[in-house]
């Protein structure tokens, strides 16, 4: 191989991959901060992931574009189509990686709290705290809302807890699993009731 530790298949994998893997230190937001700090909140499914290179001056920088199919606008007014632009991705055989940023895959369905799309290196409010996967109970097929690590979200107050602490809190409350988690409708309702009128933001 011409390039040390860089087989050709890596080029293919990177080109077809899901974008940046995620390095960050984050302060978890309060639920009201999350809701009111976001430009808009949507339930959406990832339908495509592409990469592009933007050149500023003489410096090319890779970006990952995540195209979303919006299934429900929970708050705010998102553009149509809605495409998230994230810093990171492949460039001439290398890959730019932002450690700690959530990773998307085609088919993922989430409730997303979007802030600064096109203006921020990663347009989710609080990075992983701005993404809530919609999962299904294996036994009943019921949809429920989880935190970014798959932990069932049983109360919006858990959002202010670190991810690991949220899991511990669930144990402390003797949560028995996904059946106690909020449904997407319940979560959306809580978002709507917490959202302040635009003029009051």
């Amino acid at each position: 191989m011409l390039i040390r530790r860089f087989p050709l298949f890596m080029v293919l994998l990177v080109l077809g991959g899901a974008g940046p893997v995620a390095a960050t230190t984050v302060v978890p937001p309060e639920f009201s901060e999350l809701v009111n700090g976001s430009d808009y909140v949507v339930r959406a499914r990832v339908i495509a992931i592409t990469h592009e290179v933007r050149t500023t001056g003489s410096q090319p920088t890779p970006y990952t574009k995540v195209e979303l199919e919006v299934r429900e606008v929970i708050s705010g007014t998102p553009p149509s189509p809605l495409v998230l632009t994230l810093l990171g991705g492949p460039l001439n055989g290398s890959e730019l990686v932002i450690s700690g940023a959530p990773r998307f895959a085609v088919g993922d369905e989430d409730i997303l709290f979007i802030a600064g799309n096109g203006r921020s290196i990663f347009p989710l409010y609080g990075l992983m705290h701005g993404r809530y996967p919609i999962l299904k109970e294996a036994s009943t097929g019921r949809e429920y809302v989880a935190r970014a690590n798959g932990q069932p979200l049983t109360d919006p107050a858990e959002i202010a807890l670190p991810l690991a602490d949220g899991a511990m809190a669930a144990v402390a409350r003797r949560v028995v699993g996904a059946q106690d988690a909020l449904s997407p409708l319940e979560f959306a309702t809580r978002v709507k009731s917490t959202r302040k009128p635009t003029s009051a933001k």
């Binding site: 390039i3 600064g116 290196i121 970014a148």
Partner: protein, 628 residues
């Protein structure tokens, strides 16, 4: 299964899954390439880091500057890792430039003119080429109020140093353990959120050492002469190691034709001849694998070698080859073109539970009966055709082996079990001398003609059977019960295949300090997955009173009359529940004190020693199943 027991089992399954999902996994997470398998790390050596941080406008709480605080953070990682050392150099305040192959540490309010996401204190932006990092820049959020202090978080003031330790962890290749799926709770500075943790925790350090080795360490089996000896007593085994910091020796072959990075060596002498498969599946980097004969590193003969299992996709390695028992082979695992990491080396004798030549051939149990007591081994014949079976209960015949107190006159009753109902199929008190050739053909030891031992050969339909053995006229003593696959109805043993022993069991009552030692033989040329259980408490569901409360089992392989322990178990692991179901074994309550072991066995002779914990007695059933 009734609805109640189904719900109960579901609850148990859930409890187990929940426990594992939340509490049991405590582990660092490493950044990988898009395979999610192979780690990304720095080439060994020094990594120059340009610290271009501003000078604080006032003294920081711990007396440091941002730059010196960062250097301290870097040094804390240096103190625990081996093949990589960070080399922070303090420069004038400046900005970072991406993709200039320089590692720059700066403070800024934006990144490329774009904002930090809300709540983000710092970001590490890294470039990788293949599986090697080539550049990492760390940008601290200038809009945050920073200081540098130890201990609990101070309201509104962020501790620069703990954030620096976290971000340097990313630079090394560590990810956020609290973002792992399924969720896990780990005490780590690498968790995504800032907390009272102000230094790298054991889990963080383990993660860094997984990538770069522990300070002061090097692989014990780096050099050919120090190869780790593989002792293979089961049909398969997995070993772990690393080639982090390993070196190339003069005259060492290029494994799989690649220049490598440095190899780790194992020495292996196969216990039996045959076809084996060696893999590095489970290793976290792109490996090469070589199998050799020879006694000097510069004089090896290649037996087999491999780079990728699937070229460029499954980048671990695999060779399948015939080897000879007793011959020492040398195994080298290296990294492709500079890769290095944690090695898993798997060695497996070709395993095939469907192989008609590979089957249980014989079951025996050796026990001492009190007056009126019985021992009841059982077996199952699978398939669709009849099978001839030789059953023996040897008492007097044991005296030729120096056994003293033997059961003077054992008797045999063979029962077929259908829907829980036993029907007598055959009985014997004293064996007929006409069976002597059958003994010889089955490989059973001979008996004195006219002895009061019992033996009978019967032709049995596929199904479940028990053999009840007791003493005539109330006598007591030691007896061995044996069940052999005799000549099949047609052809040679195993050749017609569709029927064979499937499950062997012994049901007995143990007195205090007594043990039961059933044995079995695995025949053929392939290894077999076997499930062995000693059930005491689990018998209560069938109405058995006086069950042995806490059985233990020890599995021995017998070679040349010498027993080698290859597995033990006291209380079974609940993860075996699915294996029980798949093998057709009845279920037992999770967490019970029954014993069970799943193991892959080479062809050969085995015994299972089962006894109760000190001072206990009661009924126990010992079972040997073919496991999936």
């Amino acid at each position: 299964m009734n609805a109640h027991s189904g719900r109960f089992k579901a609850l148990i399954r859930w409890l187990f899954a929940f426990t594992c999902g939340v509490g049991a996994l405590h582990s660092h997470v490493l950044n990988t390439d898009s395979s999610n398998i192979y780690v990304v790390n720095w080439d060994p050596g020094k990594v120059l880091i340009r610290v271009k941080l501003p000078t604080p406008t006032s003294a920081l709480i711990d007396g440091s500057t941002y730059a010196s605080s960062f250097v301290t953070a870097a040094q804390s990682w240096n103190s625990v890792i081996q093949v990589l050392q960070l080399d922070p150099v303090i420069e004038a305040e400046g900005t970072h430039v991406e993709r200039n192959d320089l590692n720059e540490i700066v403070m800024a309010s934006t990144i490329r003119g774009e904002a930090f996401p809300a709540g983000v204190l710092a970001v590490t932006i890294s470039w990788r080429l293949g599986n090697a990092w080539t550049e990492s820049d760390i940008i601290f959020n200038q809009t945050v109020t920073w200081d540098s202090y130890r201990g609990g978080l101070r309201p509104g003031i962020r501790d620069f140093q703990r954030v620096a330790i976290h971000e340097i962890g990313h630079l090394l290749g560590l990810a956020h353990p609290d973002e792992a799926t399924p969720p896990q709770t780990v005490r780590a500075i690498m968790n995504s959120t800032i907390s009272e943790i102000d230094v790298a925790q054991p889990d963080d350090i383990t993660g860094a050492q997984t990538l770069y080795g522990a300070r002061g360490s090097s692989p014990l089996n780096d050099r050919f002469a120090n190869a780790t000896e593989i002792a293979m007593i089961t049909g398969s085994l997995s070993l772990t190691g690393a080639n982090i910091g390993a070196t190339w020796e003069a005259g060492e072959p290029f494994h799989a034709g690649d220049i490598g990075s440095g190899s780790a060596w194992w020495r292996w002498t196969p216990p039996i001849s045959g076809t084996y498969t060696l893999t590095t599946l489970g290793s976290n980097f792109d490996t090469t694998l070589g199998l050799y004969t020879g006694s000097a590193v510069n004089g090896l003969t290649t037996v087999a070698s491999n780079d990728d299992i699937e070229n460029g996709v499954i980048r671990t390695s695999r060779v399948t080859t015939s080897v000879t028992a007793g011959v020492p082979y040398m195994i080298a695992v290296d990294g492709w073109s500079g890769s290095y990491g944690q090695i898993t080396l798997n060695v497996a004798y070709t395993s095939d539970n469907s192989d008609p030549q590979g089957r249980y051939f014989n079951l025996s149990t050796n026990t001492t009966l009190s007056a009126g007591e019985q021992v009841v081994p059982g077996f199952v014949i699978s398939g669709s055709v009849k099978r001839k079976v030789l059953v023996r209960a040897i008492g007097p015949g044991l005296t030729q082996f120096g056994v003293g107190s033997v059961l003077a006159d054992p008797t045999i009753t063979i029962n077929r079990i259908v829907n829980g109902v036993a029907t007598v199929v055959a009985t014997n008190d004293n064996w007929a001398s006409t069976l002597a050739p059958t003994f010889s053909a089955a490989g059973a030891f001979g008996l004195t003609a006219g002895s009061t031992d019992a033996a009978i050969e019967v032709e049995l339909e596929p199904g479940s059977y028990t053999v009840t053995v007791g003493g005539n006229t109330g006598n007591s003593g030691q007896v061995i019960v044996e069940v052999y696959e005799s000549n099949p109805v047609s052809g040679t043993p195993g050749s017609e295949a569709p029927s064979r022993f499937f499950n062997l069991s012994v049901n007995t009552i143990l007195s205090v300090n007594e043990e039961v030692v059933p044995g079995f033989v695995v025949e053929g040329t392939k290894s077999r997955n076997v499930l062995i259980r000693a059930i005491g408490p689990g018998l209560t569901q069938f109405g058995v009173g006086g069950a042995l409360p806490d059985p233990t089992l020890t599995l021995n392989r017998i070679v040349g009359g010498v027993a080698t322990v290859i597995g033990t178990n006291d209380n079974w692991d609940s993860s075996l529940a699915k294996t029980f179901a798949d093998a057709g074994a009845f279920g037992i309550t999770a967490g019970s004190a029954d014993a069970a072991l799943q193991v892959n066995l080479l062809p050969g002779s085995y015994t299972v020693t089962v006894k109760g914990k000190t001072g206990t007695s009661g009924q126990v059933i010992v079972e040997v199943y073919e496991a999936p």
